[in-house]
Amino acid sequence: MRKYIFKRVIISFVTIWVLATIVFILVRLMPGDPFSSDKMTPEIKANIESYYGFDKPLIEQYFTYMKNIVKGDFGYSMKYVNQSVNKIIADSFPYSFDLGMRALSLSISLGLVFGIIAALYRGKQLDYVCVIIAIIGTSVPDFIIGAMLQYFFGIKWGLFPVAQYQGIKHTILPSIALGFYTMAMVSRLMRASMLEVVQQDYIKTAKSKGISKFRITYKHQIRNAIMPVVTVLGPTVASVLTGTFVIESIYAIPGMGKYYVQSVQNLDYSLILGMTIFYGAFLVLANMIVDILYGVIDPRIRVSGR
């Protein structure tokens, strides 16, 4: 197991390096540059470019940048004056992370519960309720759900604040809006998986031992049915965290989303790179945790990883 984790860590670093390199090249391929402006005179522009080291050959810039990343320094933003990329991330990431984690835990737990209930009451009213929620969740985009929640819960009934991020009460609506799709997907997956597992021979074996229905469900069925859900958790974490961009702007949350989108529009090279690498590293880590978790749940995977 330790060897497996070690191997995964090495692969993760390689992945992040490849990501950084590709983004570094792609960013420079984009037309325009961060400092183009009507008022800019060629002298000032040359001055700024030499300040940021743009007058040096690209390959040298690349190695300097890589060296800095290894030290954990993403450099200074080219648009936000005197702000380091590290500081922008440090200021905004906690909001995105908090929102993302709330949305994830909400959506996974509710999704599993709905999926299990739907499967246990297959073909009955409770099943239809769960299925309808799942269909809405998978087919309605999150910005519409976000706006609807704001309208009904925020304005019409006045139960929750419409926007901002200042306390527990503020977190509820954006978490629901962000997690709705994932919840729907998890519940659909769990339902299908539960229904498949219930037909397996070992459920019949358990029944032949005189085990109660409840015990069969939670000891035999759920543990085996949860496997496909864990498999998609990695990409799900990715989709929830990137989903924060939209939700953050709807709910006026000072998370990373705003900076990320603006950095691309501004061609703020160092901020684009810093944010992308940071996100990339985060997703790689999330996937790694999911893979390790998978081995914990399924003993068959554990062996091959030894």
Partner: protein
């Protein structure tokens, strides 16, 4: 040798989108204490459904009992609630399934799966549970029980898994074990080991076994009595010798003709039974085997044959036994044997 299980006129059907499938159509049989009863027949003849009826493992719905009664030690099984049924399963009647590869929970340790029968009933404490499990593992011939106890099913071979299945069936000390094709998915050497094990355990523990198989070789090796099923009915029943050497139903004779034996010559062809089993959505009014039977008479298509008593324990459902039918000498195992010897 008292009767512990009495099945009378059992009919079980499944409600499907295509209509009602009559899987079992009026089956009677008894099981005595300490006896091995074989049920033999081809796929889809209703043998597995019959077996699962005994512990109500068929899904209900869509399955339902149309008729009949199953008396286990004098109590009726068919009318039992799920809760009452749970007291029978595992501790009174154990079940061994066909495919050990899929019949064990892949995410649960072997030991836990064996103990579960007691955990459900809060019977022993942790230490006693483990002792029980190790004891039963030893009994089914798994030598390094301590290690196996903590292993998962995928770490065991097929034969080993089937031993674990037998352990699970036995650990509750049931009076009857139903073995539904216990060796079908194993290779022949392992099959022999598992069958020997079952027979030894049966002698040691004086358990009754209902052995379901489509392999007459297994029947010959294991059973005291045999029920031959076809189209949801028992077409012939008798002691093993009756079935093999005094065959009275054309279907049984067909089954015997289609297996190879040591006497089979190198270029001798086995004789398959032509045709397919009857459609159980609308079973024929007459004998279910009539369409495939080379001796079929007009009556066979029109009316269900009664059960003819041939000897104490030997009956058959075939119009050929009627006094007006002409006497036909069915080929049976003994005949085949004699022919070869001459």
């Amino acid at each position: 040798m008292g009767k512990i299980l009495e099945v009378k006129d059992l009919s079980f059907s499944f409600c499907t989108y295509g209509g009602i499938v009559k899987a079992v159509r009026g089956v009677d049989f008894d099981v005595n204490e300490g006896e091995i009863v074989g049920i033999v027949g081809e796929s889809g003849c209703g043998k597995s459904v019959t077996a699962q009826c005994l512990v109500r493992l068929n899904p209900e719905p869509p399955g339902f009992f149309e008729n009949g009664s199953i008396q286990y030690k004098g109590t009726e099984i068919i009318t039992m609630t799920d809760k009452e049924m749970r007291k029978i399963r595992g501790v009174e009647i154990g079940f061994i399934f066909q495919d050990p590869m899929t019949s064990l929970n892949p995410t649960m340790k072997i030991g836990k799966q064996i103990e579960e029968i007691f955990v459900q009933r809060n019977m022993y404490n942790k230490k006693e549970l483990k002792e029980k499990a190790l004891e039963i593992l030893k009994l089914v011939g798994i030598s390094d029980g301590e290690r196996r106890y903590n292993q998962y099913p995928h770490e065991l071979s097929g034969g080993m898994k089937q031993r674990v299945m037998i352990a699970i069936a036995l650990v509750g000390n049931p009076s009857i074990i139903i073995a539904d094709e216990p060796t079908t998915s194993l290779d022949v050497t392992i099959e022999a080991q598992i069958l020997d094990l079952l027979r030894d355990l049966q002698k040691k523990l004086n358990t009754s076994i209902i052995l379901i198989t489509h392999d007459l070789g297994v029947i010959a090796k294991m059973c005291d009595r045999v029920l031959v099923m076809y189209g949801g009915k028992i077409v012939e029943r008798g002691m093993v010798d009756d079935i093999f050497y005094n065959t009275k139903h054309p279907y049984t004779s067909g089954l015997l003709g289609s297996i190879a034996s040591l006497e089979t010559e190198k270029d001798e062809e086995l004789e398959p039974i032509e045709g397919t089993p009857p459609d159980l959505f609308s079973p024929p009014a007459g004998c279910p085997f009539a369409a495939r039977c080379e001796y079929a008479m007009e009556i066979c298509y029109q009316a269900m044959p009664p059960e003819y008593q041939l000897a104490d324990n030997h009956t058959t459902m075939c119009w050929l036994q009627h006094e007006y039918a002409k006497a036909i000498d069915l080929p049976c195992k003994k005949k085949l044997k004699n022919e070869v010897m001459q």
